[in-house]
């Protein structure tokens, strides 16, 4: 066999091994493969996704972010309702409050009272003076003279008076409301901002789900690929070990036609393959550990994919269709849309600074106090008020104007960024689409190469049995079959991985967006 051919295989497997290492390292801070303390779990992809959505901590964090945004939105809506408050309280003072009326003098000036003269008739009833006297009622005329009465000016001193106002212990209850009737668009602005925040949080949650799905899909099939490559390496090693054993036996015990250099060449080849297999074994363990980590399982958990091979379904679609789907479902796009909505709200809120605010207010109260005079009268103990108020901005040092300018600038900035994102998404989809097309072609080529390599190995083996080819060709055919199988497995994985990445960009399962061939 050709040693160069063996080197090609080893380099190829090593490259794959390195690539598998990077694959395993993809999830943030994936743990180093360790000897698992817990028994490996054999799971399907659906099981892995289900467990991921249950256990991965990124998802609850995103869910709480949505809950926060929803609560903020409801807070914004609260401004449309009247604000009603009730207060009740009991209090006791160290002593009853009082009102002290200071001592004073009351001055009364001199005055003259004039009484004019006149006459009137007086009726003396019967028996007024005694029985029978007068016997009947007598009417008598009475005359009186006019006169003037004059008094002198006088001063009356009034002493200081201490008036108790209420009992020192009181119980009060009040209720009031404020209802903002007009705010110039402030509340609708806040509502829009909160709604935008909610939509952004929902888009972020969706992105989290898509990213988790992508990670799990790629790691799951990465683990399948790692296992296939490891198995392939083991098989190749087993074959070459037999060849080496035979070489060694013929070198040491044969007729001398196999010499030490033949044997050493084989040793180098087998040991190179053995080191590659060790790397592939490590990659398999690392891929399984990374998958478990991404699923939110403990660091020592190991997940073994139940799938035997990476699936492959050819596709037919066009980039334009995928890009338009991306504008519909891409979470980044949705976040920009949400951001624009929020910034529109910010503009409204800023503009509300130009307008007056009108509010209706009201209050009702009740006061319990054992005292009934002073201020603790019945009238004062119950009552209500109702009113309306307006706050009119007249000059604020151009604060409102500049707030509006800032908000409008933010909107304009985001719109420009939206244009960039639009192109970026289109480019991303296009690149992935091209990668997918290339992967499909590579897959087809790798499949043909693998089929040809297998056919070549079978034919070479048969030809070898009939003395038509040399041993070297048989072993080379075996190594190339292994190499082509590895390439084929990798292209299958590449196809699935690109498809998964495309799903993240499009924001939806790619398979739903592209027309699958039967």
């Amino acid at each position: 066999m050709s040693y160069a051919c063996v080197r090609i295989l080893c380099v190829s497997l090593s490259t794959t091994a390195l690539w598998m290492t990077s694959l395993a390292a993809q999830p943030a801070a994936a743990p180093a493969p360790a000897t698992s303390a817990s028994a490996p779990q054999v799971l399907s992809l659906d099981d892995c996704l289900r467990i991921t959505f249950e256990k991965n901590h990124r998802r609850p964090a995103s869910r709480f972010a949505v809950a926060i945004a929803e609560a903020q939105h409801r807070q914004a809506l609260a401004g449309y309702w009247p604000q009603v408050n009730a207060k009740a309280g009991w209090f006791r003072m160290d002593e009853a409050p009082n009102f002290v009326f200071p001592a004073s003098n009351m001055y009364i000036p001199s005055q003259t009272v004039t009484v004019p003269g006149g006459s009137t008739s007086v009726t003396i009833p019967a028996n007024a003076f005694g029985p029978g006297f007068p016997p009947v009622a007598v009417q008598m005329p009475v005359s009186f003279p006019g006169q003037s009465i004059t008094t002198n000016a006088q001063v009356f001193p009034v002493p200081e008076q201490d008036v108790k106002l209420m009992d020192p212990q009181s119980v009060t209850a009040t209720g009031n409301f404020t209802w903002l009737l007009f705010d110039g668009g402030m509340r609708s602005g806040y509502r829009q901002q909160a709604l935008g925040g909610k939509m952004a949080a929902q888009a972020e949650l969706r992105r989290t789900d898509l990213e988790l799905t992508d990670s799990v899909v790629r790691l799951y099939y990465g683990a399948v690929l790692a296992r296939q490559l490891h198995q392939l390496g083991q098989d190749t090693l087993a074959r070459m070990e037999v060849t080496l054993e035979l070489t060694e036996s013929l070198y040491k015990n044969g007729a001398g036609r196999v010499n030490k250099t033949d044997y050493l060449d084989n040793v180098v080849m087998v040991e190179t393959i053995r080191s590659t297999v060790a790397e592939l074994a490590k990659n398999e363990a690392a891929a399984q550990a990374a998958l478990a980590y991404t699923m939110g399982l403990p660091w020592d958990a190991t997940v073994v994919p139940s799938s035997e091979e990476v699936p492959h379904r050819p596709f037919a679609g066009n980039a334009a269709e995928l890009v338009s789907s991306a504008y519909e479902f891409n979470p980044d796009w949705a976040k920009v849309e949400a951001g624009l909505k929020a910034l529109d709200g910010a503009v409204s809120t800023a503009r509300s600074g130009y307008y007056p605010k009108i509010a209706l207010t009201g209050e009702v109260h009740r006061w319990w106090n054992d005292y009934t005079t002073g201020t603790a009268t019945t009238r004062n103990k119950t009552g209500w008020t109702i009113g309306a108020g307006a706050e009119i901005p007249i000059f604020d040092g151009f604060l409102t104007k500049n707030r509006v300018s800032e908000a409008l600038a933010r909107v304009a900035k985001l719109k420009e960024e939206k244009l960039l994102l639009r192109e970026g998404i289109g480019l991303q989809v296009r690149e992935l689409f091209l990668s997918l097309e290339a992967a499909s072609k590579t897959y087809q080529a790798a499949e043909r190469a693998m089929v040809a390599a297998r056919e070549n190995r079978e034919l070479t083996s048969r030809a070898y049995q009939n003395e038509l080819v040399d041993t070297e060709k048989v072993i080379r055919a075996q190594l190339f079959e292994a190499l082509m199988s590895a390439q084929f497995y990798k292209t299958r994985y590449d196809h699935v991985a690109i498809e998964s990445q495309l799903s993240v960009v499009i924001g939806k399962e790619v398979r739903e967006r592209i027309t699958s061939k039967p």
């Binding site: 070198y251 044969g254 030809a463």
Partner: protein
């Protein structure tokens, strides 16, 4: 047998230099040569298996033994069965050892089987399974050469493949010629040659350097697949029945767990990657358990050949 090739062009050249794989293939697999299959019995008594040097031919016995050692090692490691091959210089020696119960099994070809069949248990034969395991001989001529049947080859150049798989070729050809009353082969053809290299048997016919050849069907089909023009330009004018030519068989009255272990070990060898590699390198197909019925066609040819020889002997005595 081809000449040893002493090229040292690559790491793989050594096997090629090993007087071809024949030695190993004879020793271990499809060919009846050797193998030593020795199952470790429960009481530690091994199964003893015989191999005739006469079948190995001019293969270097040291190389054959070295290859055999690998075989034993693999069987022991993978299948918990030991191989203890014993090489014998003659079939008679095998017969004697078998007769005294010193051997438990033997890997042999149909010729040897026929000689010692009375000592063997033909109810269980381990041989290559499926159509690929059956050997068939063909006589090939070039299309357009005017050869339509065997009689057309009278006085023509004829080449035969020399291989353990061709052990019945001469008998089959003699039978065919005798059926047409065409006399012995060396008198029928103008020249007869043999070659161990398949291509050196078939390609001369293709290039017109020879008029006909006798070779194996499997080899011809493989060559046709490698070179489709060979299939287009060559034609089969005679073909033998399908035959089982080499196999493992046990001594009569040899029973016990060991027997089943050996059967299981030999027939299951290709279930492991290492076993597959060994089978590939040693050129044998998947082996399966069969009964004596599979030998009928080959034995029929041998019987017919015997009758031919007897008739010729009788005719010679009369003449």
């Amino acid at each position: 047998m081809s000449k040893p090739d002493y090229r040292t062009d690559s790491a793989g050249g050594w096997i090629e230099r090993l007087s071809r794989r024949r030695a190993i293939s004879l020793a271990l697999g499809a060919n009846p040569t050797f193998s030593g299959v020795l199952a470790l019995s429960q009481d530690g008594v091994p199964v003893r298996l015989a191999l005739s040097e006469s079948v190995v031919g001019d293969v270097n016995l040291n190389d054959a033994r070295a290859a055999m050692k690998v075989w034993i090692s693999l069987i022991t490691k993978e299948l918990n069965v030991l191989i203890d091959p014993k090489l014998f210089s003659t079939t008679q020696e095998i017969y004697d050892r078998m007769h005294h119960g010193d051997l438990d099994a033997v890997a042999l070809n149909i010729l040897e089987y026929r000689q010692i069949a009375d000592l063997l248990d033909s109810t269980q034969i381990v041989a290559a399974g499926g159509p690929a395991g059956l050997e068939q001989y063909l006589i090939l001529v070039k299309k357009g050469g005017g050869f339509r049947q065997l009689s057309d080859l009278k006085g023509k150049r004829f080449c035969t493949l020399k291989s353990p798989r061709m052990c019945l070729a001469a008998d089959w050809l003699a039978t065919m010629l005798e059926e047409g009353h065409r006399g012995p082969a060396d008198q029928f053809f103008s020249s007869m040659s043999v070659d161990a290299k398949f291509s050196r048997v078939v390609l001369p016919v293709f290039f017109g350097q020879s008029d006909a050849c006798l070779t194996s069907k499997r080899g011809f089909e493989t060559m046709c697949e490698l070179n489709p023009q060979v299939a287009r330009d060559l034609r089969v004018i005679a073909s033998s029945p399908q035959m089982v030519l080499s196999f493992y068989i046990f001594r009569k009255n040899y029973q016990g767990l060991n027997r089943q272990k050996v059967i299981k070990a030999i027939s299951g060898l290709r279930n492991t990657t290492a076993g597959q590699q060994l089978a590939t390198l040693f050129q044998f197909d998947e082996l399966t358990l069969r009964d004596a019925g599979c030998l009928t066609s080959a034995l029929a040819i041998l019987d017919a050949a015997d009758r031919v020889r007897a008739q010729r002997g009788s005719a010679a005595r009369k003449g």
